[in-house]
Symmetry: C2
Subunit: 174 residues, 2 copies
Amino acid sequence: MSRPSLGPFRPIGVVRSPYLTLDKTPVQSSLVPLASGTIELDPELADALHDLDGFDYAWLLTWLGPRDGSSPPEVAMRLVPFFLKRQPREVGYLATRSPRRLNPIGLSLIRILAVDPPNVNFAGVDVVDGTPVLDLKPYVTRFDRPRAEPRCGWFDSVALEDGATPETLRPPGE
Amino acid sequence: MSRPSLGPFRPIGVVRSPYLTLDKTPVQSSLVPLASGTIELDPELADALHDLDGFDYAWLLTWLGPRDGSSPPEVAMRLVPFFLKRQPREVGYLATRSPRRLNPIGLSLIRILAVDPPNVNFAGVDVVDGTPVLDLKPYVTRFDRPRAEPRCGWFDSVALEDGATPETLRPPGE
């Protein structure tokens, strides 16, 4: 695409996670409610965390692209998400939560355990150690919860096992 | 901060909205469940929308910074959010949903009305017309809903009126 680049985007910190490789990292934070990690913010941002301790949950926005400044790899318009690897079945990338997207921004619902500026300890880690943090926003039920029980497309037809990782979701022998 | 810039981030489309100025734009999509808008994606992305029509809700990620390539304005570590203007009371920016943040990424829960590639018609518009789109992710209840009724910090102590805008939330005479 020829559109101009937006930004600049700069990391405001990094995630410290028990997971060191993508293949063994849980695919969604809600599937690992007990795994805990730490957001280490730039010390300059310590004061920006004031009042966050009144919230139980937050949205963690992360950068899932290459960290060396190179462009993200080519993105396919359709892909087979981890949860459909065994069928296998392709869906549009904008109907998945795959990290392989044109702007690879991760969105994780995390449970706040302790706010200790400039750090935040949290439960529900689904990113690799060292992942750059773009933003952190408080979870607000009135803003973030649909008013009814929503349809969730192809996710409604698959089992979302606790602790699922790319490794556990891969078809046998692949 | 001296950390290297991440990216590049490129718009994948724009939001067509009935709101033309920030001051009259609702501050959160859930407060305007009936206002509708359109996401006009780059035509190259039409196929990426395949299967999105099975979902009732999605997360719309937008770029809320300057559109001319210049750096976002200086960000204060604490600010008075729109909903606390009348007190007034400052809170850490990472405990707000304010657009004035180091990486000004907007996160809106939208209700999908129709998927008509490369466009998506939706309810719950809380951005100005022409806002660049960074990403669109399906809402998945299992991933995006806390397991219990969470504390929502200072939001629990303010009235979140339907249709609230910066203009309606401003103290009289300001």
